[in-house]
Subunit: 360 residues, 5 copies
Amino acid sequence: MPGLAKRVFQRMGPHRKAGLPPGTLLHIGEVKAAETRIRIIDYDEKEYRETEVKAIEDCFSYTDESTVTWINIDGLHEPKVIERLGNRLGVHPLVLEDVLHTGQRPKMEDFEGYLFVVFKMLQYDENLNEIIGEQISLIVGPNYVISFQEREGDIFNPIRDRVKNGKGRIRRAGADYLAYALLDTIVDHYFVILEALGEEIEALEEELVAHPTPETLQTIHKLKAEMIFLRKSVWPLREVVNGLERGDSPLIAESTRIYLRDVYDHTIQVIETIETFRESVTGMLDIYLSSISNRMNEVMKVLTIIATIFIPLTFVAGIYGMNFKFMPELEWHWGYPAALGVMFGISIVMFIYFRRKKWL
Amino acid sequence: MPGLAKRVFQRMGPHRKAGLPPGTLLHIGEVKAAETRIRIIDYDEKEYRETEVKAIEDCFSYTDESTVTWINIDGLHEPKVIERLGNRLGVHPLVLEDVLHTGQRPKMEDFEGYLFVVFKMLQYDENLNEIIGEQISLIVGPNYVISFQEREGDIFNPIRDRVKNGKGRIRRAGADYLAYALLDTIVDHYFVILEALGEEIEALEEELVAHPTPETLQTIHKLKAEMIFLRKSVWPLREVVNGLERGDSPLIAESTRIYLRDVYDHTIQVIETIETFRESVTGMLDIYLSSISNRMNEVMKVLTIIATIFIPLTFVAGIYGMNFKFMPELEWHWGYPAALGVMFGISIVMFIYFRRKKWL
Amino acid sequence: MPGLAKRVFQRMGPHRKAGLPPGTLLHIGEVKAAETRIRIIDYDEKEYRETEVKAIEDCFSYTDESTVTWINIDGLHEPKVIERLGNRLGVHPLVLEDVLHTGQRPKMEDFEGYLFVVFKMLQYDENLNEIIGEQISLIVGPNYVISFQEREGDIFNPIRDRVKNGKGRIRRAGADYLAYALLDTIVDHYFVILEALGEEIEALEEELVAHPTPETLQTIHKLKAEMIFLRKSVWPLREVVNGLERGDSPLIAESTRIYLRDVYDHTIQVIETIETFRESVTGMLDIYLSSISNRMNEVMKVLTIIATIFIPLTFVAGIYGMNFKFMPELEWHWGYPAALGVMFGISIVMFIYFRRKKWL
Amino acid sequence: MPGLAKRVFQRMGPHRKAGLPPGTLLHIGEVKAAETRIRIIDYDEKEYRETEVKAIEDCFSYTDESTVTWINIDGLHEPKVIERLGNRLGVHPLVLEDVLHTGQRPKMEDFEGYLFVVFKMLQYDENLNEIIGEQISLIVGPNYVISFQEREGDIFNPIRDRVKNGKGRIRRAGADYLAYALLDTIVDHYFVILEALGEEIEALEEELVAHPTPETLQTIHKLKAEMIFLRKSVWPLREVVNGLERGDSPLIAESTRIYLRDVYDHTIQVIETIETFRESVTGMLDIYLSSISNRMNEVMKVLTIIATIFIPLTFVAGIYGMNFKFMPELEWHWGYPAALGVMFGISIVMFIYFRRKKWL
Amino acid sequence: MPGLAKRVFQRMGPHRKAGLPPGTLLHIGEVKAAETRIRIIDYDEKEYRETEVKAIEDCFSYTDESTVTWINIDGLHEPKVIERLGNRLGVHPLVLEDVLHTGQRPKMEDFEGYLFVVFKMLQYDENLNEIIGEQISLIVGPNYVISFQEREGDIFNPIRDRVKNGKGRIRRAGADYLAYALLDTIVDHYFVILEALGEEIEALEEELVAHPTPETLQTIHKLKAEMIFLRKSVWPLREVVNGLERGDSPLIAESTRIYLRDVYDHTIQVIETIETFRESVTGMLDIYLSSISNRMNEVMKVLTIIATIFIPLTFVAGIYGMNFKFMPELEWHWGYPAALGVMFGISIVMFIYFRRKKWL
């Protein structure tokens, strides 16, 4: 699996420099966004406001109101912004550290007054031909959800539209339902990744049957590494969603838990599909190896049989190439055709023998 | 395992399109039934009524009465029908979504007032020569059972007959016993699948001993994939049945739990048999590979031995084919027969040597 | 593992025909006994009666008395007999079904008023050279034990003798102790099977070292299948015995539980020995495969070396077999011996080289 | 793993003959001691008495006193002795049976008034070059410890000395601390075994790098079997010590539990070391197999290359060995050297080609 | 994995000599420090004192005060020093033994009045090119932390600086937070090790693709052994940190537990990364083996094809080298060129055939 270790290490993100005190806010990750973009959606059943602010202080007023406020922050390269927001809302410094250090594994932590949820958004990069992951963190308070992303993405647009259009349950429900909707969108998106992978596996399966090459082997190993990366990103999510559903946080309404159970089911389905894909890829590896060794064996067998048929013939030719004075056969008029006939006979006999033994 | 990923992905069903709000009712699956067929069986210990209605509203009156009502809906391509039924009975929109999205894994959910059970009916498709699965959902209320199927099937006919003829306990018991009977029928049917698979494995075992071919290998891999698919469909059922048996839902009578324990035992037996089949198939793979490599080795050995015997002989012939002026043996009268004799002797000695070494 | 799937499927027994209502009493299994034989042993500390009855109704009086009654029923092909007994004692129809369907996995079920225990008696069939299993069911009431067997066996004779002779604790203790004694006898008998298997493995180990043949491989695979079958039969017993020992059934006296713990220990020992045997057989497979490939490699190496030594020699002979007009060596008087000498020299050099490289 | 099954079966000991009632006292094991030797050490903080008695009845008076009494019984071939002791102290017959049947797996059982502990003492037999196990049983009462061994050993001598010299905590503490000390000694002794095994593995590692032979393979398999045996003997001890430490028996003082936790830590360390050794041995097997196949491949490659270089040369020689009337080259004066030159050229070209391809 | 067993055994440390009473204080480990160095840092929110004492008695006064005292002891070769400190603070002798015996596995023990924590500091030794571990023990009391190291290291310097400069929360918090900070530093340092390993794996991956050699195989096996060693050192830490976080010790403040949860997350991340590295290394082993066997097969195939093409040609040459009197072809004027042409034709036909079969 060339590159697995490297990719996992890179993508799961670097770690805080040893020696710094905990809670030191430093963005660790690739700086992807040009500037920090702060978008606010504030709504309740009746009203809807959407705005984009420049300074983080501009959001503070929203969180005090009884309406549900969704603050979407794209870009994590300005720790000061995150820090000021965190201080205002009373968020633990370690949480802010985890938001900025984008190498967290998916987790859910229940603090007094808010929930902290980290998970991975996965995307299939067509250029690199591999899955890339991005950390998304949520802080879910009584009437606000703050979402942090490294770079702008359009994956949450349908939710924005649903809120705007007042479609579905979302405008009536609280911040917990909004958090659920975000989580649900991410998990739904995993199926898109799985579909792409599924197609890649299918194509590989056909290639494997039609004309396996050493490149097939490399693709198999690449897929295997992809699967390990995927499993690493999705597996802990199971616990996260379960923790939200079964936890005793008062921030999650009873009616939302049923929806979280639905997300849980989908997560299990994603995990099971990944496992099946892994078994499939492992099976393909076995098939590849046995088909390669089969072909090699076939080649060697045929070649060895050709050699084996000719060696006795050459021997006969060698005999009549000897320079003994007295070799009666050499004098015979029909000696030459007879020798040819004998050779032909030997080869026929050997051919039939090999055929009967099913060697040919 | 060619095609495993594809089949699992296809059969486990597609997922709701990302971005749609949860609870959006859309049938996702292959549209198999020509039209939605709604059959009602309504009974208690004394009475029995069987009817087929066109409009879903016609069932509503039945569910109010104290008699047990079984509503069997074949065909899921009209979400409106499902929705109207769900609304009337107060079923959660996510449940209706799961009924329509036929890619669920087997599960049991306990809602207030009703239980929701999903499982897979398996059938052996003789044409495709593979196992196909169909989702069956049950909504079990206090005095009704609603069963949803994608297409009409005759697997529940014996139960219809038993209800009709008042055979057994079924007419005396409630809706929970009816649900049990449906579940029991499904699990019993798994044994039919297992029997078919068992016969296929047996045939393969004989083929393996008699004359293994590359096709044998493909069949082994196909069976392995079949087993993974089967396990994926049956394994979660264990939890489902256990949840029904040990759960604290008041909808399941104590006397029915003993019957559910029986279904649980059968499920375990099905799972164990699948595991044994898997071990068996894995063992067959090992035997195939070692028998193939054995045969190849035998061929190569014999061929190499033939070559090895002739090479020294050819060398002797080569010596007496040299054109040196002074080679006394060439002048001898018995030189030629002597040379032949020497060659014959060499071959005999080698033959004996190889025999003694057990190489031949 | 040729035949594993078939054997497991056959021996674990067929399943009730799909579609029949639960509790339908039909003997499913091979009809082994000529006729149903009903033997009754009735005892307490003072008295002892042994009798054989023709009609099942003749036992009913015994179960009412305060003495311990052991009803031993050999032969399950008359469902009516079982049914009448079951009805009289108030046994659940599903229990009777399980008694008759001899494909159950070992289990223990705690009903009100009685315990139902199923386990497998194993025997080594010398003719088939394989282990065969037979289902034994026990119904343990407050003062009776009913044991069901498919065919008559003499494995319980020592217990009959102990009861008769009043040897040991058995006459003083109740029905629970009798049930323990039956279970203990079965588990003790497993050690006999293990001893036979152990000897077979030992013989195989010696054969493996002395002269491995393809038959060795087949025996290894047969033993592996045997082990899987054995594990499948014994593994669930662990839970059964544990359930009896730790369960809260009032039918099991505290003093008997210590004895059950002893049986539990033995069951663990049986399971551990099976696991060790499995590891042993797997190790033998590895040794077989590597020794076979080692031998093959040795053969190929020696043969290739022979060929390699002769090919250059033949080349030299070929050179002096050329018909050029002007080849000075051919005219030399000592040309021929010199050529032979050169050949001899080449072969010596190569031989030494190969030796030094440790190739020969 | 030649001999594993045999050794495990032999050493783990035979089982009670099927059919005998439980509690039948019969020594099953190799009779190792010449005669039963009964040594008594009786002490408290102030006093110390050491004596050896002939008849078991002579110990009885000691167990009544408030002093701690250690009765060490070497030799188990006289069941009567064990029985009389057991009866006197009210020990359950099954316990006495387990003492005499030396094939128990390590276990701890909590009876009213005493604890019964079984474990394995391991020793490295230099002659057989394998680890042998001996069963040691302890009965721990309120103020006595009875230890049973099959044959005399000097492993407990340091404890005797510590008691005698009043060194450490042992004279102040009760019977539970004495039992701990015995257990601790056994576990400490495992480290000696591990050290011997570690050295053997090291030697093997060096042999593997320097000059692997088929004997190396056998030693690896032997070590693997040794490891399985070791694990089987030590693994259950973990539970035993944990049971003593966390159990609620009033016989174990709170202050002793801290010491038992220490033994527990050591047991875990032993188990972990065994697991690492196993991984190490498995790794060695892989290295052995790949190095062997590497060497074989190297040999075959070189030999095949030699053959491949000479075959075209021989072909050229064959051409000029043809007897055509009109072959102009044969007439040339420099034909022979030219032919030799051509041959030399061909071999040089091939050599360079193979070199460049990194085949040589 | 050459050397694994040896290294694990050596580094995990030797064990107390069997026979010595528990609590005997003897330093077991390599004596690394020249002399025992005792450094004391004593601080509270306002004050800060740093001093180095010669005699252990000089620390005693510090531990009585209400300030937080950190006693750092480098060098364990003077048991007396440790003993006097332990006695003064009422530390259990077994704890002191564990401090001195540097082969402990990471563990946490909760004693009355203090916590005892053992873990491994890992360092990458550039000279030996392997990871070396050192045991660090902490005794955490209400207002003191005592840390024991075998030799002086500078890993804790940043913490000393943070305390000195009053940076962060550390000066305000108690001894528990200091213990957390030490633990956090160690775990942070693991990431440095992982980074070094990650780079080594990357380099190996590139080497594997570019030009795999037998040395590559050895490096893979070395890395695998490294990984096993690492896992063995880090895995138990998970339980240690969890025990501290979830334990009910009053010594750990509620606010510190959140920080410990952070360390726990990091530990999980370290463990997961190790697991991914292991999978990666195992994958590399597979790739290495299949690429080596691929290359070998390619070589053998090409060589065999060369031989196979020349063998029939040589046979033709052999025919016309026969000395029959009457071979008309030999007399033909164009016989020689015709023979050459036939040979050329044969080789062309074979070449095309092999090409079409994709053998070449």
